[in-house]
């Protein structure tokens, strides 16, 4: 993967410090990751606020776009987690649109994909997980632990099943974050490797330059597919957040 003078396809994931800042010995530099996160937040907030400005009864294009996104997530929340979870809708929508914007911004050539780093996804997932667990305990008290002992279980099996369910519950933030991380990493690695193939073939000259059309076509198709995956992964993250929320609010699987 790294021949003489060739760049590794992993270089696109490097974090570069743009402004070096230190705070009490902690490195809080402004990196390219920070820049793209700020850009994602600014774009999503700006889009929603600006598109809803006309507030017309017959929506124009951008208002329709924002309303479609809103309705999709609202329907998902009420279908999955029930009407009692309406207060949690802003959280789910914020998570969805942040991850969507971060994924889509990464599709711009030479841009940095924020969600391709495990630490970003892990912080999102663990914060969500801790919040949902705390909500469950706040609402049900210690009866929240009855989530791990399904109804109608022979008493002899109960401790074993409890441990099993507890472990699969604690795995949730990890599976949530790894799903998004691996999808983004694999997609962008593939695109980089394919693009590198196109460049190598073109530089070889002669017949090989003509063959370069094939990896180029494949890169184009994969770019389209990666945009689709960006939407799907953002949707799946927020869908699973709703499912876990439902589990915590109504204590049965």
């Amino acid at each position: 993967m790294s021949g003489a003078g060739h760049h590794s396809p992993l270089e696109q994931f490097e974090i570069k410090k743009l402004v070096d800042l230190q705070l009490f010995g902690w490195d809080v530099s402004f990196t390219n990751s920070t820049l793209f996160m700020l850009l994602a937040v600014a774009l999503s907030a700006g889009l929603v606020v600006w598109a809803m400005r006309p507030a017309a009864a017959v929506p124009g294009r951008f208002q329709m776009l924002v309303e479609t996104l809103y309705n999709a997530i609202a329907n998902m929340v009420s279908q999955t987690a029930g009407e009692k979870s309406r207060p949690f809708f802003p959280l789910i929508f914020s998570i969805f649109i942040f991850i969507l914007m971060c994924n889509l911004l990464g599709m711009i050539p030479h841009a940095f994909t924020v969600t391709s780093h495990i630490v970003v996804n892990f912080v999102l997932a663990i914060t969500l997980f801790l919040f949902i667990t705390a909500t469950g305990f706040a609402k049900h008290g210690l009866k929240f632990l009855s989530l791990f002992v399904p109804h109608g279980l022979p008493i002899a099996l109960a401790p074993f099943i409890f441990v099993l369910e507890l472990i699969s519950y604690l795995v949730r933030p990890f599976s949530l974050s790894i799903r998004l991380f691996a999808n983004m990493l694999a997609g962008h690695l593939l695109l980089k490797v394919l693009a590198g193939m196109v460049v190598s073939l073109l530089m070889a000259g002669g017949v090989l330059s003509a063959i370069a059309v094939l990896p180029f076509a494949f890169t184009a198709i994969m770019t389209g597919f990666e945009i689709f995956v960006a939407f799907v992964q953002a949707f799946v993250f927020s869908l699973l957040a709703c499912v876990y929320l439902r589990d915590a609010l109504e204590l049965h699987h």
Binding site: S175, I178, A182, N183, L185, A186, V232, V236, L239, L240
Partner: protein, 75 residues
């Protein structure tokens, strides 16, 4: 054999596990299409569990890819 050769071998062997992911996704979509064919009006209710099943089945294949990438680039 040297370290690097074993790493490449390990990465290749790790990707065999993605076979399970492929079969799993195929089963999810087969079930979804079968249910949709029997009851086309239920598409609204079937969409969410379909996407959910796809996400769960894909995680296993992605875990294999992750192990392969870890072996190649991190270890």
């Amino acid at each position: 054999m040297e370290d690097t050769a074993m790493k490449f071998l390990g990465a290749g062997i790790a990707m065999i596990g993605a076979l399970g992911g492929g079969i799993g996704i195929g089963q999810v979509v087969a079930g979804w299409l079968g249910a949709l064919a029997r009851n086309p009006g239920a598409e609204g209710k079937l969409f969410l569990p379909g996407i959910l099943g796809l996400a769960f089945a894909e995680v296993i294949a992605l875990l294999c890819l992750l192990v392969a990438i870890l072996l190649l680039f991190v270890v």
